[in-house]
Structure formats: C-alpha cells, structure tokens
C-alpha cells in the first residue's frame, strides 16, 4: 500500500480524463456514474482514457478485460459461452470484481457486452489505486525515498528515476489466480 497518491487525487484525475475524452460536463460525473451507460464511452474511448491515466500516473493500465484473461488462463469457453453469455464461473468473478454493482437480471444470463457498463468512476479509481499500490518498497538504486512529483508521478528522491509498478494485465492475472486458488470458483 502506498500513501503518496491518495484516492481523491486519482478520482479527480479520472474525472478530468473523462471530461477531456468524452466532452461531458464535470457535474455529470459521480463515483457511481457508469462510464459506458451514463457517459456513453465506447471501446476506443477506454483506450484514450487509459492512455491519459498512464501518462498522468506513469503506470500501465490493463490492455485486456478480465473476461479475456479468464479465457486465456482457464481456456476458451471458461468465461463466455458460445452465445456470448457469462458462464457461472465468470459470474462469480464478476461479483468479486464489482461487489457493489447491481448485476443485470435476465433469465438466460448476462451478455458479455453488458459487462463494461458495470465500470463506474469508483471502479476505475479502485483499478488505478490497485496498480499504484504495487509500488515497491525501494528503488533499484537501493534508496527508499519515493516521492510524488507534481502530485501524480512517483519518483525516487535519490536517483530521480520514475517508479515501476506492476502493469494492469499482470495484476489482473495475479488477482484471478488468487481468486481461483483461494475460493474455489465454480
């Protein structure tokens, strides 16, 4: 856990990125605002958002959604069935990933295209915070003197090299592995 960049800063930068990318008014953005459903973001917008956040915090966001990682880690069909609907296993992962989210209720299951609408401003904030929290104890130069430059970039106070964080895809894979081993997913 790092204490150099707080959740408030991350949330504020995400709002700023949303305003710039989607050209929406800041007043329309709250923690529970769905980036897809409420703000109209599409897949290309997420890439733009991610790029802005990467530049802002010096991190690397996940290139692939957790459903894609599941399919790669546990085999094709493990997360999404042949009709594009989430498997019971993916549903369990989804609930773990977005515990606060109200999942759509359909008799025939949740379509994979409905999942991105669960990404709220708060969920994105949590994602960025989880990457920032992988800040290592010390710099490769041996010093343990991290500091936040401009409030958003963590650098070594001794050698001034930028901090290296675990990238978003690796973090998702680690999280899925832990979930799979720990809780006995269906």
């Amino acid at each position: 856990m790092q204490h150099l960049i707080g959740e408030e800063t991350v949330s504020s930068e995400i709002r700023k990125a949303l305003v710039e990318t989607l050209r929406v008014g800041p007043a329309t953005i709250g923690p529970e605002t769905s980036i897809v459903r409420d703000l109209g973001a599409e897949s290309l917008d997420f890439l733009d958002l991610n790029y802005r956040l990467e530049q802002t915090f010096g991190i690397r966001m996940a290139r692939h959604f957790f459903l894609e990682h599941m399919e790669e880690m546990f085999g094709e069909g493990s997360a999404i069935d042949e009709n594009g609907r989430l498997t019971p296993r993916a549903l369990a992962v989804l609930r773990a990933r977005y515990p606060e989210a109200t999942l759509p209720e359909h008799e025939d299951g949740i379509d994979m295209d409905e999942v991105p609408s669960l990404i709220t401003v708060q969920a994105m904030t949590d994602t960025v915070m989880s990457i920032l929290d992988t800040l290592p104890a010390g710099c490769s130069c041996g010093a343990s003197a991290w500091r936040a430059e401009d409030g958003t970039h963590v650098i070594c106070g001794t050698c001034r090299q930028p901090a290296t964080f675990t990238n978003g895809d690796d973090l998702t894979r680690q999280w899925l592995s832990g979930l799979s081993e720990g809780s006995g997913l269906p």
């Binding site: 703000l39 599409e42 290309l44």
Partner: protein, 251 residues
C-alpha cells in the same frame, strides 16, 4: 465545386480518418452520410456534431447508425442514403473493428468478428451499394493500412486489409464495365484513435520520428483525388500514403 450534387457514404466516420474524409468530401461539395456503429454512445454524439459541421458548410448530411457486420443494417444504411439524399456517388469503406492481440491469442469469436466486420462487412457494403453506384458511375475507395503488407505487432486487422486490397483489385475488374471504379488508400501510421491504441501495444512507437506520422488530412486528400475525375485512369490500385515509411529498409 468539384463534387457539387454528389453524395458520399463514409463508413465509420464519426471520428478519426473517416471523420476527416467526410469533411474533405463535404468541403469539395459532396453531401455526406456519416455512419457510426453504436447507438447512444460517444460515436453517435460525434456523428451528429460532424453532420452539423457539414451542414454549416452548406451541404446536406445525415448520421446513420449501422454495424457493417450486419447485412440488414448495411442494406438499411444504403437505402436511407438513397431515399434521403437521392443518389450515391462515393462509397468510402473506412469502418474497421478488431482486437489488438497477436493471432495466437485471438479467440474464435475474435476471429469471427474480425472477418464479419472487416471483410464480409466491407464486401456487403459494395454489394448493397452497387445498384446506386452503377446509376451514378460511382467510386468505391477502401481505406487500408500498412498492416496489409508488413508484420505489425498485435494487429490482426492487417490480414483483413490485405484481403480487402485483393477484393479492390477483383472488383475493379468485375465492376469496370458497369462504370464503377474501385481503388484503395493505404495509410501508414496515422495520428488518430488507432494511433493511441497502437502506442499501447507497440513499444517504441512514441520514439518514431514525427516526420513519418501521417495526418488524417493527407489520407483524405488522396480519397478526394480518387473520387475526382482526375483519377479516371486509376483502376484497382492501392495508393500508399505513409510519408515514405515503407520505402526504406532502415530509418
């Protein structure tokens, strides 16, 4: 006006290269149908803004939602263009949709989507638009990319671009007697949304010299040329617009 009374459909034109092409065609006098894929999202908003911009130029314009991977939607797109604007002279095939992953990581449905949109979707557009294009001795311009001929990291779209360049050659021959010209523009590294994506999957892209980065305007200018009478002698060609990137072994 070069394209006075002409009508163009530009697929995938709410943003990026398609948007710039639509604007250039409108500035040259054409009325433009702006196509976008997702209803209710940011692209619909941008498509409507683009239409307003085109109308401010004194041209007619309408935004039509259609996912080109859906044959019925393509049929409706062409029908709406014909019914509202009365004719179709230029079909610019710009829409593309693909995951940015290497081939070995593509899922079956990724592959299906790749083919459905970028090959079958484009072929559907040509087939559905053909009756209107024949009537106006129209032009088809496909927007390709260097991925059609060079290995590009995490860019399976390249193989679809290659397939479509072949379709361009074939259709140019088969449709020539029906008065329809078919050509393509192959863009290098164009500074658009896709560039933002490539920057994320292609390490080192940020270190490329800015002199090799193509602007959307440079692509659009060549599309306008291919739609103009000046290009009457060009048939089945793919014109590379890459600021020389593919012309050198070392850079």
């Amino acid at each position: 006006m070069l394209f006075a009374d002409k009508v163009a459909v530009v697929t995938g034109s709410s943003r990026g290269i398609g948007r710039t092409i639509a604007l250039h065609l409108a500035r040259a006098g054409a009325d433009v149908v702006v196509n976008y894929r997702v209803r209710g999202g940011s692209s619909e908003r941008q498509a409507n803004e683009l239409c307003a911009e085109i109308r401010a130029l004194g041209r007619r314009s309408l935004a039509v939602q259609a996912d080109i991977s859906n044959r019925q939607a393509v049929r409706a797109l062409v029908a709406e263009a014909g019914a509202t604007l009365g004719r179709l002279d230029f079909l610019v095939l710009n829409a593309a949709r693909a995951p940015f992953k290497p081939y070995e990581r593509l899922l079956d449905r990724d592959l299906r989507q790749l083919v459905d949109t970028n090959f079958l979707g484009n072929v559907s557009c040509i087939r559905e638009a053909l009756p209107l294009l024949e009537r106006s001795s129209g032009k088809v311009v496909f927007i390709s990319s260097l991925g059609s001929r060079f290995a590009t990291p995490s860019y399976p779209l390249g193989s679809m671009k290659a397939a479509m360049e072949a379709v361009v050659r074939d259709c140019a021959e088969s449709l020539r007697d029906r008065g329809v010209a078919v050509n393509a523009v192959c863009g290098g590294i164009v500074q658009t949304d896709s560039f933002k994506i490539l920057r994320q999957v292609w390490d080192g892209l940020d270190r490329l010299s800015p002199e090799v980065l193509v602007s959307p305007d440079e692509i659009a200018e060549v599309v306008v040329f291919l739609c103009s009478p000046a290009a009457a002698g060009i048939c089945g060609q793919t014109i590379v617009v890459d600021r020389g990137l593919s012309n050198r072994v070392l850079r």
